[in-house]
Amino acid sequence: MADVFMPRTLDELLDLKEKKQSLALFAGGTDLMVALRHHRIQPKALACLDHMDAMREITDTGNHIAMGAGTTHAGLLASPLVQEHIPVLARALETLGSPHIRNMGTLGGNIVTASPAGDCLPPLTVLNARVELASRDGFQTLPISDFITGPGTTCLKPGQILWRVLVPKTPAYCIHHFEKVGLRRSLSIAVVSMAAVLNLAPDGCIQAVRMAWGSVGKTVVTCPEAEDILSGNPLDPAVLEKAAQAVMQWVNPISDVRATAGYRRKVAGNLVLRLTRYAAPPEGGVRP
């Protein structure tokens, strides 16, 4: 039996963190309740974040889009700020769970769960997102790629909570791409996923590109070599194929109940080829 607390302010929440031993934070509950049911954790107290209104704010700070860690995925999808400035995150959230799960699950929860398959993580990585952590000592921000250290592990210290996620508005990209391969179209943990943001020059050459993959390593994987192969080159099948080969060499997937390592490796490369849809159609021809 666990006592359930419903703090309303950061102060109250940090107080609970300090005073209650064995406290688990209950955001959407979509990961926590499953873990509780399987006795993977046995907290004596739950801090439910339903009344932490400040954690559900989405704001444009000028330089950043700031999203409270308690924003639900549905809330993010409904946000004009997210749709306009960081559509790659919206594309990923559309594939997350189900409509009911999206009404409950939160951005912060997805990050702190830190699954290698987490759907928010590749988009936040390509956007160079930073996490803002709050504690009695104040606020601290660090890159999301530094925050998540392995499967299910972050560098959250005792007494710290994930407060906000900050995405810089620049550089701005014109192509925001996300694709997730799973065993079904919804309610499906990613077998492999890829987020990509690109800018193309007027002649169709790739001016800037960032890519990140989920479910092919201990955490989100980026492949600088593939980005180098694409930079400055046209978005054509030969270039994409070269980048895909580099990715297949680079990723380090495992075999598990959902897929073999070999399958994941192949799909990680194939997902790069899917960027061909953003190439200008050949003159007089039809886009493949």
């Binding site: 039996m1 666990a2 006592d3 359930v4 419903m6 209950f26 959407g28 509950g29 979509t30 309740m33 499953v34 049911r37 739950l46 439910c48 339903d50 549905a74 769970g97 189900s98 409509p99 009911h100 799960i101 009404n103 409950m104 179209r185 919804s186 309610l187």
Partner: protein, 160 residues
Amino acid sequence: MDLTFSLNGTALTLDAPSDQRVVDLFRETLGLTGTKEGCGSGECGACTIMVDGQTRLACLMVAAQLQGRSVITIEGLDLTAQGREQRHPVQEAFVQAGAIQCGFCTPGMVLTVTDLINRSPHADETEIRRAISGNLCRCTGYQKIVEAAQLAARWKQEEP
């Protein structure tokens, strides 16, 4: 804890453990067995309920979260049980379309479709399938459930 919330339009106060799963509160404590538990991990949608106008999964909620909220379970749509002549239109659509086989997914499906039709009476097939993508059915192959939703949508559009 002392829990007070609105259930299917009526204010309710009861004493319940704050960490009791909502699906258990409904089924075991309140005897409202319309909300089903198919998986207990949010992956099937059989426990779909409405809280403050949004669909939620009762197997992933605890009692404390209901405090002060407005909750609808499938029993709230059971108009004939409430003495009315006709079924709720979405239930009627499911019956007419032949969209019920074993019936286990049906409460969650009906609530989800009701929510969809209320928000988006002109929903097309793509939108319908997306809306029910969190509700699994092992019997029907979904086709007749989609047709039931389309029928219910048509009726909603025709409402004066």
